[in-house]
């Protein structure tokens, strides 16, 4: 399955998902949607059985009480038998206790089953979500995902907890009551049963209409949650621009939409519940009238009439329960649809075929030092200069980078070759390809710098290597193996990257640096921090244990970037991808970091995006990306000399024509 294929199928649903209009056609029936929860319920079948048994015992005890009342009136009272009265009173208490105990058992078991089910689904959902390709997440607001993992899941929990049991017991109660009524008086019983029948029709109509509203409400809530989330994450921007009011207005619009839908829901619920009240009460009235005649005609005893009325009242509960079940079932079905819509999205980027010929082992560690046959047919190998132009001296012993570099000597003989062969890539939904016909080869241990204007596709190219997206055409090879044939874990263990915008998490510094290798020893962490010039971390209030705020917001911009850099080099990857890794640090720190990085890079194959000449110095060769194609490849000085586009991109001075606008020429003079 190619990325493209899935991307297209995804596209038929969302590209405008973020705008919050109509989503899935409601083609799946509620029943079908609910059935899909089945597999999650299956492990709890024994519990369900216990719950059902307990529920039935409870119902039986409940139904027996009206019969006791009949005996009290017709037997004990009519014939003045006080002894019988005591016995009946005790029996009623006994039955009542049985009902309470069975309720206790049912609810207790239900509680553990239902919360466990919710936990399992949520865990599965989270696990599934974090394995879906990033392209999926681009098109889905995390507010929508979140509302599925919380609100929708609780709807399912509510239904799984009460709905199923209530459904079975209420149907059974209904049947049992009608049978008992018929036995008390056949025509009145039959009539009562028939009068209740239309309620089902009412319920079904209600179901259909309520469902539409409840779906709408859920969608609106998801959209509002999305905006709330954005406004929370972007609070600093909103404040910096003073846009409190506008944000409030936009939020209020969403909230008002929810309000309208909810009021519609309340209106509908009001009519429905009123009907649910009206029906049984009308029936009681009818029983009172007709039953009295039956008593008059001696077809029914007085006690029988009372039992009839109390029993008929027992019909109210199943009917009401049906209303609740239908409402919550509707909600749960909608919720289930929304959740399974996510589960049904298959990760477009998956492991290569499991065959053992591609990797030496399944464990990432085993694959981190592979013995790979010298790569055959790689297209157009770059000529790299014999002596890499690394700035600075090659690290004195004991200097920050050396332990990292040293640890890799076992591999120094090997090194990994990375090759792009006629790679093309287009974002789903965008017309045309962002990258076209990219052919590049990075020899083991060499560093290639990728230069290019803003938006030329550098980041896009980088993200293809760890397969955050898959190429649309062509292939990327690691030591001759197509990366799509490698298990994802193996590939991503060998490739590490530092993104242009550091993505940090609200955890300790240590956890953030050891993000990809939680068991990394402290020395490695120290070495990585040193190489990334991030020793400031030790001076934080709790050292490496300091929690850096959300997104690392309690660090300065340059500090964030260096933590992200340390994270990338920690795992000693075979291939290192750095996306403008020093854009947020000052020039002097940059110079130091460049020297330390150069030492790390000596044995690592690296692809580095650079906007500034100073970063270009990290590389052996430079490739110029222009409009999605590789326009030129060569050393920095070669390109400066022969490629005007590159010279333009890398030269600080203004064009000659601009010189007169230049008020402060003294800077260059110095």
């Amino acid at each position: 399955m190619t990325f493209r294929g899935v991307a297209i199928s995804l596209q038929s649903v969302p590209p405008e998902r973020s705008r919050g209009q109509a989503r899935l056609p409601a083609q799946e029936t509620s029943a079908a949607a609910l059935r899909r929860i089945g597999p999650y319920l299956r492990p709890y079948l024994p519990q369900l059985a216990v719950m059902l048994t307990a529920a039935l015992v409870g119902v039986a005890a409940q139904l027996a009480i009206p019969l006791l009342i009949k005996s009290v009136i017709d037997g004990a009272i009519a014939h003045d038998r006080r002894g019988l009265l005591i016995a009946l009173g005790l029996a009623a208490i006994g039955l009542g206790t049985a009902e309470a105990v069975s309720n206790l058992i049912r609810r207790w078991v239900q509680g553990s089953a239902v919360t466990a089910i919710e936990k399992t689904i949520r865990g599965d959902l989270y696990a599934h979500m974090q394995r879906l390709h990033p392209g999926f997440h681009d098109s889905w607001q995390s507010g929508q995902l979140l509302s599925r993992a919380t609100t929708d899941l609780s709807a399912i929990r509510r239904f799984a907890g009460f709905g199923i049991i209530f459904f079975i017991t209420s149907v059974l109660t209904f049947a049992a009551v009608v049978i008992l009524l018929i036995r008390l008086n056949w025509w009145l019983g039959l009539l009562t049963g028939c009068v209740f029948a239309p309620v089902v029709v009412v319920c079904t109509r209600f179901e259909r209409r309520y469902r539409v509203l409840s779906r709408r409400a859920q969608d609106q809530q998801g959209d509002l949650a999305t905006y709330i989330e954005e406004a929370a994450a972007g609070i600093r921007v909103l404040k910096a621009l003073g846009r409190r009011r506008e944000a409030g207005r936009r939020h209020a619009e969403g909230a008002a939409g929810i309000y309208r839908t909810q009021v519609d829901k309340a209106r509908m619920l009001g009519s429905f519940y009123a009907l649910l009240d009206l029906m049984p009460n009308a029936v009681i009235g009818m029983i009172l009238l007709l039953g009295a005649f039956a008593v008059g005609w001696h077809e029914l005893t007085l006690g029988g009439l009372v039992a009839f009325i109390t029993l008929a009242l027992q019909l109210v509960w199943p009917i009401e329960a049906m209303g609740y079940i239908l409402a919550s079932g509707q909600e749960a079905a909608t919720a289930a649809q929304r959740i399974f819509e996510l589960f049904d999205t298959v990760p477009a980027i998956t492991d290569g075929p499991p065959a053992g010929e591609t990797a030496t082992g399944s464990a990432p560690e085993a694959a981190a030092t592979p013995e790979i046959p010298e790569t055959p047919e790689t297209p157009e190998t770059l000529e790299t200069p014999e002596t890499p132009e690394t700035p600075g001296s090659p690290g004195s012993p004991g200097s920050p980078g050396s332990s990292l570099a040293g640890a890799r000597t076992s591999q120094a003989t090997g090194g990994t070759q990375l090759a792009f062969a006629r790679v093309a890539f287009g974002y789903p939904g965008a017309d045309g390809n962002v990258l076209r016909d990219i052919t590049l080869s990075l020899e083991p241990g060499k560093t290639l710098v990728l230069a290019g204007a803003t938006g030329s596709g550098k980041t896009t190219l980088l993200q293809l290597v760890p397969r955050l997206a898959d190429v649309t055409a062509g292939s990327i090879r690691l030591d001759g193996t197509d990366i799509r044939d490698l298990p994802l874990d193996v590939l991503r263990a060998r490739v590490a990257c530092a993104f242009e915008e550091p993505t940090l998490f609200s955890a300790s510094v240590r956890e953030n640096v050891a993000f990809g290798a939680p068991e990394a020893p402290s020395e490695d962490i120290a070495a990585a921090l040193a190489a990334a010039q991030a020793e400031f971390a030790y001076d934080l209030p709790w050292g490496l244990d300091t929690r850096i705020g959300e997104q690392g917001m309690s660090l300065s911009g340059g500090q964030r970037q260096r933590i992200a850099l340390a994270r990338a080099i920690l795992s000693r990857p075979d291939v290192l991808l750095l996306d403008d890794p020093l854009s947020a640090v000052d020039v002097q720190t940059e110079a130091r970091a460049t020297r330390a990085l150069a030492r790390v890079l000596t044995h690592t194959t690296a692809l580095v995006v650079a906007h500034r000449p100073s970063t270009v110095l990290l590389g052996d060769t430079v490739a110029l990306l222009d409009g999605g194609v590789i326009a030129a490849v060569g050393t920095h000085s070669e390109l400066m000399a022969s490629v005007p586009a590159y010279r333009d991109l890398m030269t600080m001075s203004d064009e000659p024509g601009d010189a007169k606008n230049e008020p402060l020429p003294r800077i260059r003079a110095g």
Binding site: G123, P134, V495, T546, E550
Partner: protein, 607 residues
């Protein structure tokens, strides 16, 4: 909660303390009263409707009893249907009244509840927008989100299916109790004896479940934080094979929530059957004692029947309550947290009486830092800073990373208030300006460029909400973003995707920059606003800046010294102190100075 070492240590633990429960409850009551204050009429109407519905519902069993005692005897004696028909007719009337009242109160309650929820949503959102950045720093967006989503939902759910049953249960209890005492007080007293255990049970349940629900809400907030962070940083998660570790962490948090909700389930599992038990025992006793009284001729059969029917009305609503106590408690817990947040005063408060800025003479305003000391935590980041930026001057702020440049900018934008000293705008302390006035004058483009989902035009318009299309496009043109924008499908109406994900990093920065260009405030702060741009694009931006800045006051923070070219003055900051200050030319001349060395490094990087 700190048993999770991966989380690290933070300065403040904001998890609410459950010992203060009583205080919290009164605070949430106040909030609720406040929210309902505007709709007193509707509250009264709703209550009246519920009372009518309850009364009508109670009339039913009473009429049944009368029917049995007064309707049936004449019928069986001499076929007189009159009394029976009269009772039945009365019964029919109550049924209809009940149906109408029920329909109306549910709708009315729904509207009332949704009004309250709407109001609450707006208040919360506005409040979070108002709260200072330092509050957000440690409250974290996960909590902000869960307050506004799951907590508000809990309150909404209460109105949707809990509150009316609470009210009608209480009403039924009172009415039925009174009715039974009226009908036959000895038998009535027997029933009311059941009250003792009920009150005790309910008190126990209330206390236990309050704790359980608060734990539940707290643990779900942690789940939400983890969820949102993972999905937002999905690229890092996948690139670093973080999934398995995340599964572990999430499993732990998810289990925490599981434990909390299991506990509350179990509480209901005990409470509800206990109520049933009390009700059933009393039914047995009534059957026995009432039967005796009928045999003794103290009451008629019809009265006993009415009692038996009433018992259901007495205990069934309590059952419902146990059912809905979930949503009730959840809402209570949610309300506690919400009222807690709403009660939190902004640490950057609005002035009691705001001072008006003097009219703007030129395009800019002067800025002065007077003895400013500030730290995020215990140690100070800015230390006794004295700095004067005359109106119209363009100042470049440079220095090593972590020197405190962004902090200076944040103080000027009043994200934080200084611990000591004052920040003055045209001689007015920022603390004396109200927020809209300040924001109209001082605008900052932050180091983190954040785009909202929506179109490019929407995002640029954030700089000036009243801007029309032409202004937006000319801003785009001026900074050289026009070319890439028009090449996008849809141009200025192109959707930027979630957090601007469909644009490249440099393009996002250009869009953020266009906001500043459009806003054109008196004082403009640019924090690394061009760090992600390529050199030609940066040149374009600088050219635009030169024309735009003109008379405005500007503070430009940059590591790329090329940006400094347009500055009149350079300030070198180190460890929160100014180490050099002067026009760039002069600083450059002091060849062993800080700036000159920086410049040298930079020059050598350009080789």
């Amino acid at each position: 909660m700190t048993a999770q070492p991966w989380r690290g240590v933070a300065a403040e633990q904001r998890d609410e303390d459950s010992a203060a429960a009583a205080l919290l409850r009164s605070r949430s009551r106040r909030l609720l009263g406040d929210l309902l204050a505007g709709s007193r009429g509707r509250v009264a109407l709703t209550f009246a409707l519920i009372a009518i519905a309850s009364l009508a519902a109670l009339a039913g069993p009473w009429l049944v009893g009368i029917g049995i005692d007064r309707g049936i005897p004449p019928l069986s004696r001499d076929g007189d249907t009159g009394p029976l028909l009269a009772v039945t007719a009365a019964f029919a009337v109550t049924v209809v009244v009940q149906a109408i009242a029920t329909r109306s109160y549910i709708y009315s309650m729904g509207r009332l509840g949704e009004r309250v929820v709407l109001d609450l949503r707006k208040r919360l959102f506005a409040h979070f927008q108002l709260m200072s950045v330092s509050f957000h720093d440690d409250y974290t967006s996960g909590r902000v989100i869960s307050r506004q989503t799951s907590d508000v939902d809990a309150i909404s759910a209460l109105f949707e299916d809990g509150l009316d049953s609470l009210v009608s249960a209480v009403l039924s209890l009172l009415l039925v109790g009174a009715g039974m005492l009226l009908l036959d007080w000895p038998l009535g007293l027997v029933v009311l004896a059941g009250f003792g255990p009920l009150v005790w049970l309910t008190a126990w349940f209330r206390q236990e479940s309050a704790i359980a629900y608060r734990r539940g809400r707290e643990s779900i907030a942690l789940v939400i934080v983890q969820f949102v962070e993972t999905m937002t940083g999905i690229r890092a998660v996948q690139a670093f094979r973080r999934q398995r570790r995340n599964d572990e962490i999430f499993g732990e948090l998810n289990s925490g929530y599981y434990d909390a909700s299991l506990r509350s389930f179990r509480l209901v599992a005990v409470y509800a059957p206990a109520i049933t038990l009390v009700g059933n025992v009393i039914t047995g006793v009534v059957l026995f004692y009432g039967g005796l009284r009928v045999i003794d001729g103290d009451i008629k059969v019809g009265v006993l029947v009415t009692f038996l029917l009433y018992l259901r009305r007495f205990f069934d609503p309590l059952q419902d309550l146990a059912q809905f106590y979930n949503s009730f408690q959840a809402a209570g817990a949610a309300l506690e947290k919400i009222s807690g947040v709403l009660a939190e005063p902004p640490s950057v408060p609005s002035p009691a009486s705001s001072v008006r800025l003097p009219d703007r003479s030129g395009g800019g305003r002067s800025v002065r830092f007077a003895g400013v000391t500030f730290g995020y935590r215990a140690e100070s980041v800015i230390d006794g800073l004295d700095l004067e930026l005359p109106a119209g001057q363009t100042t470049a702020l440079v220095g090593t990373t972590g020197a405190g440049k962004t902090t200076v900018a944040r103080l000027l934008a009043r994200f934080y208030d200084p611990d000591e000293g004052r920040v003055l705008l045209d001689g007015v302390d920022l603390r004396d300006l109200d927020d809209p006035a300040l924001r109209a004058e001082v605008v900052m483009i932050t180091q983190e460029n954040f785009l909202f989902s929506g179109t490019i035009a929407d995002n640029i318009r954030l700089g000036k909400p009243t801007a029309d299309r032409a202004e937006i496009e000319s801003a785009g043109r001026a900074i050289g973003a026009d070319e890439f924008i028009t090449s996008l499908p849809g141009g200025y109406d192109a959707d930027v995707g979630k957090r601007g994900g469909r644009l490249s990093a440099g393009q996002r920065q250009l869009v953020s920059f266009a906001r500043a260009f459009l806003a054109a405030p008196a004082v403009l702060i640019l924090d690394e606003a061009t760090s992600l741009l390529d050199i030609p694009a940066e040149r374009m931006v600088q050219r635009a800046l030169r024309t735009m800045l003109g008379e405005r006051t500007a503070l430009i923070i940059a590591h790329r010294l090329s940006t400094v070219e347009i500055a009149d003055r350079v300030i070198v900051l180190d460890g929160g102190r100014i180490v050099q200050d002067g026009p760039p030319g002069r600083l450059l001349a002091a060849s062993d100075g800080r700036y000159a060395r920086m410049h040298q490094s930079w020059q050598s990087g350009l080789a």
